[in-house]
């Protein structure tokens, strides 16, 4: 099969590894690395690289290095945040309860569901408004002095909608000072300053591959009295919070990706937003029946564009776009790779018929004006051909 030139607008799924990150990882692996828990020189070198990476991550998050736990990625971080927090409270004889927004990533949502299934944990979902923003009044109504954990993401993976995290934290603190707030910052990390954006939260999760780093490494930052209960057991690494030999080269990659993202953030936000806005206006103008899923009043990540195309089946659209070299996403898929109806869009009240034509374009650090030009040329043609009757 001949490969068409590729325009990659699926950075929300995963981002290309940045060359500088690859270089930093290669550099780290260029000399023998021992197991960081060992005592010889290669072990000490590994330990140094790991702790330097931890210092860098802590600095970017504006936190103490002791709060930083390296994990295998965003999903593990979310599981540890939710289940580890609920376990820690349950361990102390409490009866834990968790509130999560109705648009959390499956890593958070399914962790909550698993917790609620297997123990005395109660779990309630906090609705969102039509823009996909968590309903603070509803949150206030659901919070009580016994609330253990509140999970609200920094920005949504499907729509890119940014949540009012500071207000969520303030509300939680006011009603229940002992409640902890967890924010999944995985999707937001490339574009939002993490120290200010997540500073108020007790727990923050990150994943390297969403910001130009490698797949398979993530972070959970934990600032909480009493800490969290571990979810996996063994050698007691990461201060007894996450056993298992640390992925030193991965941690180096993650730290490098975070540093790069931070250094170029202001410029990248401006540049990517301008490209995204051009794409949005162009598609809305050239594609009949194209609607913004998120109304213009909501704050979204600069790289996200979520549209619903009336009368189009997104499975057909994505296949046809792929054939023309444009990589986009339907927003949500299951283990088989089949697209599933989106609970995020359902929570926002998007009608089913419209959600069938949902498509997500996510731009990133390597997106160019030429990518946007090609997408603007290809999408209207593809949509027209799909609408044409045989």
């Amino acid at each position: 099969m001949s490969e068409p030139p590729s325009t990659y607008l699926d950075h929300g799924a995963t981002t290309p590894l940045r060359p500088e990150v690859a270089h930093a990882m290669a550099e780290a692996g260029s000399e023998p690395l021992g197991n960081p828990t060992g005592s010889h020189r290669p072990a000490q070198r590994a330990r140094r690289l790991l702790e330097e990476a931890r210092d860098e991550v802590a600095a970017q998050l504006g936190r103490d290095p002791g709060e930083i736990i390296f994990t295998s990625g965003g999903t593990e971080s979310a599981n540890l945040a939710v289940l580890g927090t609920l376990d820690a409270v349950g361990r102390d004889g409490g009866s834990p309860s968790v509130l999560s927004s109705a648009v959390e990533h499956p890593a958070v949502r399914e962790s909550c569901r698993a917790a609620a299934r297997s123990s005395s944990v109660t779990w309630r979902e906090v609705p969102v408004d039509r823009k996909g923003v968590v309903d603070l009044e509803a949150l206030a109504g659901l919070l009580d002095e016994a609330t253990t954990l509140v999970a609200v993401m920094l920005a949504n993976n499907e729509t890119g909608v940014v949540q009012p995290l500071d207000r969520v934290v303030a509300l939680a603190r006011a009603v229940c000072p002992t409640a902890r707030v967890f924010t999944d910052a995985v999707q937001a990390a490339p574009f939002i300053d993490l120290a200010t954006g997540t500073g108020a939260a007790d727990l923050v999760s990150l994943s390297a591959h969403k910001l130009g780093g490698p797949v398979g490494v993530g972070v959970l930052a934990v600032r909480a009295p009493g800490g969290i209960a571990p979810r996996q057991f063994g050698g007691g690494q990461e201060r007894e919070r996450r056993s298992g030999t640390q992925d030193v080269i991965g941690a180096v990659g993650l730290a490098s990706a975070l540093r790069l993202a931070a250094a170029g953030r202001d410029e990248s936000v401006r540049r990517v937003r301008a490209l995204r806005d051009r794409l949005a206006e162009g598609l809305l103008d050239r594609v009949d029946g194209a609607l913004r899923t998120v109304s213009t009043g909501a704050v979204t990540l600069p790289g996200h564009l979520h549209l619903c195309l009336e009368g189009i089946e997104r499975e057909e659209l994505l296949l046809a776009l792929s054939g023309r070299g444009v990589c986009a996403s339907g927003g949500s898929s299951c283990a088989s790779g089949a697209l599933e109806s989106s609970y995020v869009l359902a929570a926002m009240g998007v009608p089913d018929e419209l959600a069938r034509g949902a498509v997500r374009f996510t731009l990133g650090h390597d997106t160019t004006g030429a990518d946007i030009d090609r997408t603007l040329a290809v999408v209207p043609e593809v949509v027209a051909s799909l609408r044409r009757q045989r």
Partner: protein, 350 residues
């Protein structure tokens, strides 16, 4: 030409895709996710999707997953349950071919600009105008029965690449190419029903069963059954033996009356079956009353010579030699008397 090949994750559709690639066509693979529930066979599990995707990768073609589970539920699973509520015995594979594969998927294939939709069915399309639908070359694996509802409009847009092959050759070809599906067992039974729960378990969670009395031809009570909805006309299992010691068969099922009528091997034989006209389809042109044909009443049933007749609102199939009664809901495929490999039409038994 551009061909969309429906890949179930089985060996037949794997080889269908391979043959099309070898013939130089521009091929894209698609696997249908049809069923969200538990299942361990057929076209619905993650493992089957993985097999199909891996084969596509080995062949160097693009692969996509189409989620048609809502449509499948609406057009196949729900009617399957509703038919049992009425004591009918439907063939869900035929309904899936009718309303999913050769309707929704075929339309999608058209919209995406493919010239043909390919599947791994053992059947052949021959001729020009009109096209004929024929049995697969491997008579043991022939699937023309489950495709017998197709018409010209569909046949001109489909291709069955393994229809000319013996199943052993299909497997040998897959093995030569190193495809991981080469030794995969053939799928059995209904794809959305797991072998552990079975039909009774599956239906039991979706409908109510009712006990019924079993009577003989003269109305004498001879037993009971726990679920009248699970009893099928022609069934022998569980019906015991008559006073003469001979096996008994189900002759009739009356769900509202909660009554199953049984009879001897002779009493279950019928000389005709009625196909209501709204269920009747023709591959090309209709058989006229009095025309000779060959009927097949199940996927691997023995063909029976017959004559067709017309009645108000229905087509009557009169068998030359009496046949075991055809259960209401079962599909009847009609083949050409002069060219018995060719399907001429189909209908559903009243």
């Amino acid at each position: 030409m551009r061909v969309l090949v429906a890949m179930s994750g089985g060996v037949d559709s794997s080889v269908a895709a391979a043959l099309l690639v070898e013939q130089g066509h521009d091929v894209v693979g698609a696997t249908l996710k049809l069923w969200g529930g538990p299942s361990d066979s057929g076209c619905c599990s993650v493992a089957d999707v993985d097999d199909a995707r891996r084969v596509a990768q080995q062949l160097g073609i693009e692969h996509h997953v189409f989620n048609l589970s809502e449509e499948f539920d609406r057009h196949v699973v729900t009617p399957y349950v509703e038919a049992h509520v009425q004591g009918r015995t439907p063939n869900p594979c035929i309904e899936c071919n009718r309303s999913i594969k050769f309707d929704r998927l075929l339309e999608r294939s058209d919209r995406l600009g493919f010239d043909r939709l390919a599947t791994g069915h053992h059947a052949r399309v021959t001729g020009g105008d009109p096209l004929r639908l024929r049995r697969g070359a491997d008579m043991d694996k022939d699937q023309s029965y489950v495709l017998s509802m197709l018409g010209q409009d569909q046949l001109r847009r489909v291709v069955f690449p393994v229809g000319e092959m013996a199943k052993s050759d299909v497997r040998a070809h897959a093995a030569r190419l190193g495809l991981r599906t080469a030794g995969k067992p053939d799928s059995q039974d209904v794809c959305f029903i797991g072998s552990v729960e079975g039909r009774q378990g599956f239906l039991g969670r979706r409908m109510e069963f009712h006990p019924a009395g079993v009577v003989n031809a003269v109305g004498e009570a001879v037993g009971t059954v726990d679920a009248v909805e699970l009893v099928t006309v022609g069934q022998r299992r569980g019906m015991g033996h008559g006073s003469d010691g001979a096996r008994r068969y189900v002759v009739a099922v009356d769900v509202p009356a909660r009554r199953v009528t049984v009879g001897s091997a002779a009493e279950v034989m019928v000389s005709s079956v009625t196909l209501p006209l709204p269920t009747v389809t023709w591959v090309d042109r209709p058989l006229l009353p009095g025309a000779r044909a060959v009927a097949q009443v199940s996927a691997h049933g023995r063909p029976a010579a017959c004559t067709v007749a017309a009645e108000v609102g229905a087509l009557i199939v009169r068998f030359d030699v009496p046949q075991r009664a055809v259960a209401p809901g079962q599909s009847v495929a009609l083949y050409d008397d002069a060219d018995p490999d060719a399907v001429v039409g189909a209908g559903i038994a009243a």
